[in-house]
Amino acid sequence: MMTTRDIIDALTRTFDLNADVLRDNQIRLKLHKKQVAPVLLYLKNQLGFIHLDHVSCVDWLEENVFELVYIVYRPQDRLTVLVKTKIDRQHPEMENMETFWPHMRTYQRELREMFGIDFPGFEAPKEFILEGWDEMPPMRRDFDTRAYVQRTYTTRPGREDAWSVREYITRRTGEKLPDFVKKYSRD
């Protein structure tokens, strides 16, 4: 039986890092890019976090970084560790960790296709979900989806007005909309 305290102790003894507890059973680590692989390996082999839950990427366009989040899980005590790291957005590159967990391959292929993150030495096929995609990776926030759609697809006429459903209903019922709702309005 291990608690979040034990995990954090074990980690800080071995590595130079800061950890904070998010919830009863959730720990968050914010690491340098170079630390991620050793910490994940340590979590997996020494501390029993044998399951890789998820890998995702957050696009912080304003700060010009991608934040990668690796979530690992220890089934005995239902403990979760979030390992976060920030990488450069202009030349996104991350360590290839396909040998740690077999399904890391799938996550890495997705990140490579949807965000354009490069994993040196990662030899899985280039195409994953998209086919013949020759634009900017579509999940990046500076990819202009609307413009791409207008350029590529023909749309049926009749949807141009694109009314906000919420406003349409208020117009009919005479209800007054609070200001915070108007912030999300389309006009």
């Binding site: 989806t145 759609v149 023909t154 749309t155």
Partner: protein, 215 residues
């Protein structure tokens, strides 16, 4: 005139005459034959259409979320088989191609291939608002917005998603169109192939279809 008719009844027909008669009765015959006049053609077409409309073999191409209504339509509660609608295993055995929901460009390529493999007469039923105008994916980078730009569509069923009642209504409409001889766009597709191909190639980037019309 009447003389020749009598003789024909009395004498045994020669092999040549039997062959000729068979050609004449075949609906494919275009030579001037006795059964090929307008009225008979109309009757033959009527019978053919009647048969077709009561035996629709359905290839459900479950692309989007709407596919979940297909089992409900086909199984005991709504029992589409009482209208002659049932599933087919492969495109070549199917009459109706049913597109249930949004189509990504990747899927569109397969759908076109499937459509081209189907035998004439073939009908397409598009299902859900996604196939009509993009539905809630109207600004998605990866789904097409209007299916009839890429393959001809006979009946659209609106709704997100349409309930089995609406699906059956759509099929009733299709049956009506078939009976009137207004359904089945395979011929139209072949005639306007250039237009369809241009639209298809605009969205399918890695185009590797054969150049010739070869199915």
């Amino acid at each position: 005139m009447s003389e020749t008719k009598d003789i024909r009844i009395i004498t045994r027909p020669t092999k040549e005459q039997i062959r000729q008669a068979q050609i004449d009765f075949s609906p494919r015959c275009t030579a001037a034959g006795r059964v090929n006049d307008k009225e008979t053609q109309k009757m033959v077409q009527y019978i053919l259409n009647f048969a077709r409309k009561h035996s629709l073999f359905l290839l459900a191409y479950g692309t989007g979320c709407g596919a979940i209504e297909i089992p409900a339509t086909l199984t005991s509660r709504y029992d589409a088989e009482r209208l002659g609608i049932r599933g087919a295993a492969t495109p070549r055995q199917a009459d109706v191609l049913m597109i249930t929901g949004y189509l990504s460009t990747k899927t569109l390529k397969r759908v076109i291939r499937v459509y081209e493999q189907m035998q004439d007469p073939k009908y397409v039923v598009a299902f859900g608002s996604c196939t009509i105008n993009g539905g809630m994916y109207f600004d998605s980078y990866n789904t097409i917005k209007a299916l009839d730009r890429y393959i001809p569509v006979d009946v659209y069923i609106a709704g997100c998603m349409p309930r089995p009642e609406a699906v059956l209504k759509g099929f009733a409409k299709l049956q009506e169109l078939i009976q009137n001889g207004n359904a089945g766009n395979g011929e139209c597709y072949r005639k306007n192939l250039d237009w369809y191909r241009a639209n298809q190639q605009k969205v399918i980037k890695n185009w590797d279809f054969p150049d010739e019309y070869n199915w």
